[in-house]
Every structure is written in C-alpha cells, then in structure tokens.
C-alpha cells in the first residue's frame, strides 16, 4: 500500500515536470541556455536587420502565469504537445470580418504565434490586434519566435502591462484582449470583437455533448427495462437526480409546481458540475469555464430572467410595497429589495466564478513554488525542495477542488431554486389582513 502511494507520487512528480517543461525551457535557465537563446534571437534579428536588445530571460511571475493559465484561449493546448487549432471569427468595425483557423499562427512556446495574420497576432494563447501604422494588415507575416515584449505603462494613475510585438526592428503596440469580463482579467472590448470558438466554448460543447449522450443512454435503459433495478450509468445518475428532486426542487419550489422548473434545475446542476469536473482533469487543457465571469454571468442572467418572468403578484408586492409593515418604512424597504433583485444574480455569478477560479489559482501557485524556490530555474536544490513541497499541496488542493466542484454546483442549483420558489410563492392570506 505504501509502495503504491509512492509510485503515484512519482508519476505526478514526473507529470508536473512535463507540464511545466515549457516554462522551464524558455523563462529561466543556466547561462548555457541563455547564450543559445540569445544567439537564436540574434540571428532572428539579423534576418530582420535589427539590433538585439530583446530579452528572453524574464524572472518567473507567479501571478501572471496563473492568470494566463486560467484565462480563455484561442488554441487548445494539451501539455504543449498537442495544439488543436480553433476557428477564429474576428470583427473589427474599421476592417470587417476575418475568419480563419488559429493554426495559421503556428503556435509555439508560451502559446505565442510565429505568424501574424490579417493584422492579428496570437500572444499567450489569445488573439490581439495590432492597429498601429506600418504593421501588415493583409495575409500571413512571419514575426519570428520571440517577438513579444512586455512593458509597464501608466494609465489613469494605474500601472498597466502592455505587450508589444517586434516586426522589422520596430515595436508595435498590441491591443488588449477583447473580452466581456469587465477588464478583470485584462480584457474589455477593444478595437475588435472576438466571436471565435475559443477553448472555453469548445469545452462547453464537449461537456454538453457528453451530458446529452449519457442522459440519452440512461433514458433508453429506463424505457427498455422499466421494472429492473438501475445499473451502470443509471445507478450513478439516479441518486443525484432524486437528490435534486427531493432536497432541492420540492422543498424550495413546492410539490405541485416543481415540475415546471425541474428540467432547468437539473440542466444547471449537471452543466455546472460537468464543467467544474472537466476543468479538474489534469493535463487536459485545464479549462476554467465555470471560473470565467462571462460564463457564470450568462447562467446568472438566465436565472434572473426566469425568476422575474415567473414572478407572481405577491412577489412584486413584496418588492415594491411590503405588506404588514408601517407605511414610512415601505419606501425604504422597497429600495433595499430592488437592490437585492440585482445583487442576487450578481452574487450567484461571482460565487461560482470566484470559487472555481480561486481553486485553479491555488493549484497553479503551489506548482509555481517550484520556480519560486528554484529561483526561476537557476537553483536546482531549491527546485527539488519546491517540487517535494508542491506535489502534496497540489494533490491536497485537487482533492478539495473535487469537493468544491460538487458543492458549488449544488449551491448554484439550490439558490436558483430558492429564488424561483420565492418568486412563484402565493400567500393564502389576503394582503393587509392584520393577523
């Protein structure tokens, strides 16, 4: 038994080294490597006729690495060995639509593209646009292997990290990623719109297809053998199904009305659970779909609209003119209730995204210990100590995340059920009936 644990430990240790080998080989290293890499850069720059002031060896930045790994991407990388190109659908108001495959970027180390296409470049897995004059806006352009640099700039009193791409000896500013997450992860709508089928979208489609497949199979086995004890996938899903019905739907919505909302609750539960667990699979892209504020925003909006479109008279009465309390408190309470109307979906959105993203960040930070202790790869003893510390911590965190995946899916469902229940509840006593 002890022996087996040791073997599992060793396997994980090897896997982690593989997973971060990319980080290891480019960011940090012995002087020998620095020389070779600067030689490569030199030869690159000579090709383009430029001076070699480009630095490859940057100190390890745990926060930036974590943010990069939890963000959405335009290429699906599995262990940096397999890179699945995804379709790019980009729209710029001044330029029109551009549709091509992200395979054209020829993704390399750090998920940086070696080619620019129609004025778009791939940097750290996501697409950026170059709007400055002089950068080619048509067709494929070779920009080389280490073409990207970062600079810190002051913007409205804050320090902002801006990326630059080097082409023909001149540096061009990259527009930030175009995302809807309110700029929290360095996004916001910039000079272009990104409608691409990204890594997160692909994961969502995969998980949805998988869920449809297992539920079709389960439904079929119920039809074929209605009077037999469940087995296989059926036996796994039936308790969860009954749990959602008996512990979530019926107590919160009511025995006579729950059937209308039960499919919604089950869909939310299995969709969130499936994506939470999908993101936990090590070395399989580790997509952070439910940890993405945009995805949870859509889920929360769905719940918000369903709750408010199904709201009965009593529900609106309790928001705008709470019965059975003194009149002078009523407007005050109405203000609070109207705020609550929007805070409810807001917390729904933030709770799920925060918990899942925090779990991913914690795992990435623990793995980052290897590079912090190892002094970005220059101190081997420190690296070994870091690895020995990082593996048990990571395994522990992954076990916790497994529980969190279930709890967050359950909490999202139970809160959705309680909001729906509050909206459709009908009081059987007449209003203002002092009792």
């Amino acid at each position: 038994m002890k022996y087996r644990i040791f073997v599992v430990y060793l396997i994980f240790q090897l896997c982690t080294v593989c997973a971060f080998a990319e980080e290891h080989s480019t960011q940090n290293d012995s002087t020998e490597y620095q020389e070779t890499s600067s030689e490569i850069v030199n030869s690159r720059n000579e090709e383009h006729g430029a001076e070699s002031d480009h630095k490859v060896n940057q100190p390890y930045d745990p926060a930036a690495t974590a943010i990069h790994h939890i963000s959405d991407a335009n290429v699906y990388s599995i262990l940096d060995l397999i890179r699945i190109p995804l379709p790019m659908i980009l729209y710029a108001p001044d330029k029109g639509w551009d549709i091509f495959s992200s395979g054209k970027f020829e993704t390399g180390d750090h998920e940086d593209g070696h080619f620019a296409n129609y004025g778009y470049v791939l940097h750290q897995g996501s697409v950026h646009r170059v709007v400055e004059e002089g950068f080619p806006t048509e067709g494929l352009t070779d920009i080389g292997e280490h073409a990207f640099t970062h600079k810190s700039e002051e913007k409205k009193g804050k320090k902002v990290d801006v990326s630059y791409v080097k082409y023909n000896g001149k540096e061009y500013r990259l527009d930030a990623r175009s995302t809807l997450d309110g700029g929290m992860l360095g996004g916001g709508i910039t000079s272009f719109y990104d409608f691409s089928l990204s890594k997160n979208v692909l994961s969502m489609i995969l998980v949805s297809l998988f869920l449809i497949w297992i539920f079709k199979r389960t439904a079929k086995s119920y039809k074929e053998n209605p009077n037999r004890a469940p087995k296989g996938m059926q036996a796994l899903l039936e308790p969860i199904f009954l749990f959602i019905r008996d512990e979530v739907a019926i107590p919160f919505i009511g025995k006579d009305k729950y059937m209308k909302f039960f499919p919604l609750l089950l869909s939310i539960f299995f969709f969130v659970l499936g994506l939470n667990l999908f993101g936990q699979i090590p070395f399989f892209g580790s997509t952070n779909v439910t940890g993405n504020l945009t995805v949870t925003m859509v889920l929360a909006l769905l719940v918000f609209f369903i709750v408010n479109f199904n709201g009965k008279k009593d529900y609106w009465m309790h928001i705008f003119w709470m019965p059975n309390i003194p009149v002078f408190i009523k407007p005050l309470l109405a203000a609070v209730e109207i705020m609550g109307l929007f805070i409810k979906p807001l917390t729904l959105m933030m709770r799920l995204a925060g918990n899942i993203a925090a779990g991913h960040i914690a795992i990435l930070s623990f793995i980052g210990l290897i590079f912090i202790f190892g002094n970005s790869g220059t101190n081997m003893g420190g690296g070994v100590i870091g690895t020995v510390m990082a593996i048990p911590l990571t395994l522990f965190m992954m076990a916790i995340e497994l529980i969190v995946a279930f709890i967050q899916a359950y909490v999202f469902t139970i809160l959705a059920a309680s909001y729906i229940g509050a909206a459709i509840e009908e009081h059987h006593h007449p209003q203002e009936h002092n009792h």
């Binding site: 512990e247 917390t347 709770r351």
Partner: protein
Amino acid sequence: MTGTLAAVGAGLAVIGVGIGIGMVGGKAVEAIARQPEAAGDIRAVMLLMAAFVEGAGLIAILLSIFMAG
C-alpha cells in the same frame, strides 16, 4: 501601495467570512446533534446560509482585486 492595501482588505474580508461560516457550521452541527432526524433540512439551510455569507465576502474580495488592478 494600493495593491498592498487591497491585499490587506481582502484578508480582513476573509476574517469576517471565516467567523460567519464558522458560526453557521458550528450551530448546524449543534442542531444536528440535538435533532439528528432533521439533519437533511439543517444541512440544506446551512449550505444556503454559508453561501450567502460567502457571497458577501466574495464581493469584498473582488472589490479589492478591482482596486488593486
């Protein structure tokens, strides 16, 4: 400087949430010990309340992240 202050703020928010969730969990365990037959209901309410407390904490933490960024 703002980054450091924001980090301190996030830490302070977590103290409050920790106390809150600890109380919810502790009282729920007491309640289940007193009335084991109601364990299912108590657990559901406990998770719901913990989620509300956590929601307040998450808003504080996200606010501090925005301030830091």
